[in-house]
Subunit: 129 residues, 2 copies
Amino acid sequence: MNIGDVAARTGLPTKTIRYYEDIGLITPLRGENGYRRFREADMHKLGFVGRARALGFSIEECRDLLALYEDEDRASADVRQIAMGHLDEIERKIAALSDMRDTLKGLVHACAGDHRPNCPILKELSDGA
Amino acid sequence: MNIGDVAARTGLPTKTIRYYEDIGLITPLRGENGYRRFREADMHKLGFVGRARALGFSIEECRDLLALYEDEDRASADVRQIAMGHLDEIERKIAALSDMRDTLKGLVHACAGDHRPNCPILKELSDGA
DNA sequence: CCTTGACCTTCCAGTGACTGGAAGGCCTAG
DNA sequence: CTAGGCCTTCCAGTCACTGGAAGGTCAAGG
């Protein structure tokens, strides 16, 4: 299979697939014409990485997860630890964003949003009161 | 005032302050020795940008907000629109992260996390079921 | 046989918002 | 006169791609 077919099947852009080869996540074969030749296993790995990325795992976490996936003697505890670390990270991001949202909501609510210059949003940014 | 004092007072790293000059957010004066010389107005702007960044506004949004702040004839509606656009962005990010969190939580919960290799997290990433 | 257009290749540069580090000038205290 | 703590510029790296240029390959149609 050529890269275009793999892109269509996995939903990943060809650029991204080449990038994943660059950084050693996958190692497709090469045809005589220099084209990448993907096996089912390569496709499968790309799907795996795509789903892990969609859950917000970093590339390095994806690499670790892939390694665990391919290790028949893995301990599920190792997988779980990566997932829990990532879950913590996500919770922290959500908390930070929620704080921003609450503050912003208050400011937007307090702002008349008309033709006049008076604006509590700018006042807050200016004073930090 | 030298950059170190400004950094201490605003809480921004010196590197960041120099970067903000690079991209034209501030324009401190220069002493005969080549050192940056910051006026109160520069400090004030840096505080403004620091607070806007803490609320998650992008640098370009900060630039626009600063311009509005310095425009006595601004309409508060323009400020409000920037803030509301950013608020939307934040809500979308929170929603995306919440989805990830929910999925991950379910998977982490389903995983025994012991010495055995069987792992629903890997299974999900592998199958996308 | 030739051309067209859709593929594929590599390589380089840019994104956002910094951050780290090297190499070197300036300034004050002892 | 030296030590150290400032300051300067410039270059490179981060993360995970993304865009684009220049060029090779392949299948179909004339």
